[in-house]
């Protein structure tokens, strides 16, 4: 994935936050998605201002991790693109 790519959430999706995750309703596809907390945080960071290359460090800081979870974040971003929640 291009580290300069700045993903952003697609218009119209509705984000419902629950204590330990997120439930997303996408009216464009009439689908519901269930995200755990880290996936939800990554989705929220996809605001068009943060680059894909910056995401792992932000997740590392948010969860106080020893190392930036580069592969996990990349996998999550790809999945969010595949599900058409970000572009």
């Amino acid at each position: 994935m291009d580290p300069n790519f700045r993903p952003r959430t697609v218009d119209g999706i509705e984000i419902n936050e629950v204590a330990d995750g997120y439930v997303i309703y996408d009216p464009n596809q009439d689908r519901v998605h269930y995200l755990n907390h880290t996936a939800g945080v990554i989705l929220e960071l996809c605001n068009g201002r943060v680059s894909a290359g910056e995401l792992p460090a932000l997740v590392q800081a948010a969860y106080d991790l020893l190392d930036p979870p580069v592969n996990e974040v990349a996998g999550c971003v790809e999945k969010l693109i595949e599900e058409r929640l970000i572009h």
Partner: protein
Amino acid sequence: MRSIHILACNFSVVSDCEEFLAAFDGRTQHASQNFAASRHHRLEVLRTDRGYTLREDGRPLDPQSDAEGAAEAVFWRMHELSIAALPEFTKIHAACASWRGRRFVVAGPARSGKTTLMTRMLFEGFEVHCDDMVVLRDGEVLPFPRRLWIRSSAVLLLPQIVPFVAKSRRIHDHFSLDLAELGFDWHADTAPVDAVFFLHPNHGSDTRLEACPKYAMAQLVMSQSGLPAGGAQKWVKEICAMVDAASSYLLHCGNLDSAVELVRNALAQQPRKSHVGEIRSDE
């Protein structure tokens, strides 16, 4: 004539046939309800040479050949009309009960054991409100009042009901129990939910209770739920709000005694939610 209240509907059921009325009485419930009825329907069942003629508010329904068939048809028509009268509510396939003021729902697919568990809880100090469906709106659930329909094979697991079953009509291999007729308090009132359990049958094995992430519980509950008239957006929001305000557990239900104990322990850890308008004062 029989007068039946089911949430937003009042029904007058009129018949000239005692056999029909006896069959019908074996299907109706006597839960106390504080939900105001806003609709009234009149259902008439008349015996003829060829069977039974049915009318709903003056309009003909499909005729039935015998009293049991007529009672079944009227029962299900009342069920449909009662649900149709609540379009703005989210319907969830779930049982509902309370223990020491803490209300909980047990969601799960058909034949997962909701009725068996609820019946057992009835004799263990729980107040059971319904065993099959609740409707949800604005963060509060309203139990859909219906008799408990207990599969005859489940009676072996519920020795407490044997004396009642002996006096009950057997319909389609089920016994139907009216909780009020059994002498229990039976209320179908709106209230917020303190805990949500999702039932996974684990027949013939141990019972386990595990905490479930709320986002995952939302998915499970939605799998047992139908859309309100407000559409999917409202549906997702309503279920998320209910799940988020409650504790979530997966109940892998095998041994019933353990299930009752585990649910009771989980509820004991819950602070009791205050209901809208509730006022508490120091002594």
